[in-house]
Structures are given as structure tokens and as C-alpha cells.
Amino acid sequence: MQAESSVSLRRPTTAILAVVFASSPALAHRVDVGAYVADGRVLVEACYSDGEAVREAAVEVTDPDGNVLIEGRTSAEGRYQFTLAAIPAHINVVVKTADGHRGAKTLPRESLLGLLGAAQSEADASPMPSAVEPPTSGAATSERDNLAEIKPTLAQLKAALVRHEVALHDLQQQLALLNKPRGGVSTDRVLAGVGLIVGLTGIAAYCLARRSRQS
């Protein structure tokens, strides 16, 4: 009987292995949440572990004390965005579906400072030029010569600013890619799990066989 059952084991095992390798790209059932700050907003993206967007799911943003700051729903692409008036020590972004799936992402204060930066730079936008002027008026001796020199300098400043903005945009795009919810299950983990089950089965068989021999 024992020999018989070990022979009958072989066929299903082959079937299982076939399934593992046939199915590796199609996965499901965990919600991955990605969140990052860009353009003064927090962008949230949620997907299932097979990469499919989590549509129409409830989004809840809470502070460390558990107070709900923002509530909303993901779009058809699984995205959501919001801004914050004040920045707490960290925020939790939780995405929940009606059928019991849930994913969460914690953003620490450091990652949220971009929100503050955007708000501040808007507020600082007007004083900035005047901050450039004082050294020119301070160097007062030959103002006309200086004014002539300043014009190209301003153009250079503008060019530099544009360069930096382009670089910043690139960085933000890379950050978006890094923060994209990843999904997926690695084949090693699948194999590890199958191996563990085979091992457990072996141990169980050993224990049971010992017990039945003793009795």
C-alpha cells in the first residue's frame, strides 16, 4: 500500500510542477500600495499581486494617532491623490476592497516634506527676486556697469533653473517608478513552499509509520 501510494504521488507532482512554470506571470490576491510626493501632492497607486489595478477601493489616510485625515476611492487605474494641510510624524495610507483585500503603506515625515517644500516655494516665489537684488545694490559703486552685467546673469539663472527643473522632473519620474506597487511572487518562494510541503509530508509519514509500527 505504501509503495503504491508513493507511485501514485508521481503523476500529480508532475502536474503541479507543470502548473508552477505555466502560471508564474499570472498571480493574485495581495494588495500592494505605492505612495510618494510629487508636485505638492501625495500620489497613491494600488495593484493586486498580479499587477492588476485595484479599482474603486476605499482609501483611508490616517496620522500616527489613528485620526482619519483623508478618505476617498481609487480611480479606474487604481490611483488616488491628495494634499495635506499639516504634516504629521508619519501617515498611513490604507487601501481596502469590499471583498476583504487590504494593503497599506507608511510615509514618514521625511518623505512628506515635499508637500511643505511646494507650499513654501509658492509662498517664497515673490520675495525670491528681491533676495537676488541686495548684493547688486550693496555693490553700489558703479551701478550702470553692474546692471549691464546682471542682464546676462539673470538669463543664466533662468537657464539654470530650467535645467534643475528638468532634473527634478526626471528624479520624480524615477521615484514614481521606484514607488510603483510591484506585485508578483518570486518563483523561488513558490518552490520553497512546495519543498516545505513535501518535507512536512515526509515528516508526517515518518511519524505515522513509526507509531503504527510500535502499536
Binding site: 503541479i16 499570472a26 490576491h29 495581495r30 499581486s49 487590504r102 518562494r189 516545505l196 509530508t201 508526517a204
Partner: protein, 210 residues
């Protein structure tokens, strides 16, 4: 079935864990040395089945093999399902360790019901031999969906019907696919390896603690 962590309330989690432990103890008592390999194979199949995503329907759903596990294992479906879910929680972050009890029940109870209702069809050579396992496979998924909805309802203010509709709608395509899969698996085993099916004599051993 995988309910994620942080969704269910503590009483539901504790209750689920207790019932799952009882089922597990009962399931382990029915396992005989001859049936250990079968339990292992089904457990491995369950472990991997959750990775097979069916991209039809409104939500993300995957195979569960609940009905098949019930038909082939009876009470022993409890340990098989428990091990599969435990490893899925650890290795894939599907479900979670705290919800392990509830998720085990949500999969193993339907398996048991399917076993009780349809085990007679396992060795039937007529049309019932196909229809029985088909219904078993489909019912396994449906019952699992209802159990998940009940767990969500018990621990939250979400309306039962809303949760049940959300879960069941997501699983309608899976029900059909699992029904067909279950019917073909049972048919295949009946023709090729009838020893893998619970034999009429073994049936009693699997069904009760005896």
C-alpha cells in the same frame, strides 16, 4: 480564500482560530499513513492554485481548489488547507498570520460540506460521476465566498449582502472553472488511479474519527 490582516475584529479572529484548531485536530486524527502522501499532494496543489489568477470578472480572483480538496480528503482537508494557507501567508503575504484561522475555516468548511454532499459521485460511472464533482467544485468556491462575506459582516459594519455580492461576483467565473477542473480531475483519477480517490471502504475513515 484570503482575508487580509487588519480587516477583521479580534473576536472574529479569535473565534476563527479556535474553530480552525478544532477542525485541524479532528482532521489530523483521520489521517492514516496511507493517506499522508495524498494530503501532501493536495496541500501543494492548494498552495500553488492561489497563484493562478483568472482575469475575468470585476475583481481579482484566483483558483482555490476547495471542492477538489474536500472530495479527495474529507476531514483531512483541514490540515492540507491550513499548511497551504500558512505558507501562502509567510511566503506570498496572501492573507496573514492573524487571519489564518478564519481563512482556514473559510476554505476547509466548504470543502467538508462538498465532501459530505458529493462523495458518492466519486465512484459513480454515469453522468452523476461528472455532474457531482462539477457541482462540488463550484459549490466549494461559492460557500467559501459566503463564509468570507460572513466573516467580514461579523466584524465590520459592512452589510452582509454587500460583502457577499462583492465576493461572489468576483468568483462566478472561478466557480465555473473550478467545477470543470474538479470534474475532470476526479474523472481522470477515477480512470487512471482510482486508489487516489477515497475508496468506499476508506470513506468512513476519512469522514469520521472512528
Amino acid at each position: 480564500m484570503h482575508i487580509a490582516e487588519g480587516i477583521l475584529s479580534p473576536p472574529v479572529l479569535a473565534g476563527g482560530a479556535l474553530v480552525a484548531l478544532a477542525g485541524l485536530a479532528q482532521g489530523l486524527r483521520t489521517v492514516k499513513p496511507q493517506t499522508v502522501p495524498r494530503v501532501g499532494v493536495i496541500s501543494a496543489a492548494l498552495f500553488i492554485a492561489a497563484l493562478i489568477h483568472v482575469p475575468i470578472g470585476v475583481a481579482s480572483a484566483h483558483l482555490t481548489l476547495t471542492g477538489l480538496a474536500g472530495l479527495l480528503l474529507g476531514w483531512a482537508a483541514f490540515p492540507a488547507i491550513f499548511v497551504a494557507l500558512l505558507l501562502q501567508a509567510i511566503l506570498f503575504q496572501f492573507g496573514g498570520l492573524t487571519t489564518l484561522g478564519v481563512n482556514t475555516i473559510a476554505t476547509a468548511l466548504p470543502a467538508l460540506v462538498v465532501f459530505v454532499l458529493f462523495r458518492r459521485s466519486l465512484h459513480s460511472r454515469g453522468a452523476w460521476g461528472f455532474v457531482g464533482p462539477f457541482l462540488g467544485g463550484a459549490l466549494g468556491v461559492a460557500l467559501a465566498g459566503v463564509t468570507v462575506a460572513a466573516a467580514l459582516f461579523l466584524s465590520d459594519d459592512t452589510a452582509f449582502t454587500e460583502a457577499a455580492v462583492a465576493v461572489l461576483l468576483a468568483h462566478v467565473p472561478i466557480m465555473v472553472i473550478e467545477g470543470v477542473l474538479c470534474a475532470f480531475c476526479v474523472g481522470f483519477l477515477r480512470t487512471v488511479k482510482p486508489e487516489l480517490l477515497p475508496a468506499p471502504k476508506q470513506r468512513r475513515e476519512l469522514a469520521s474519527a472512528s
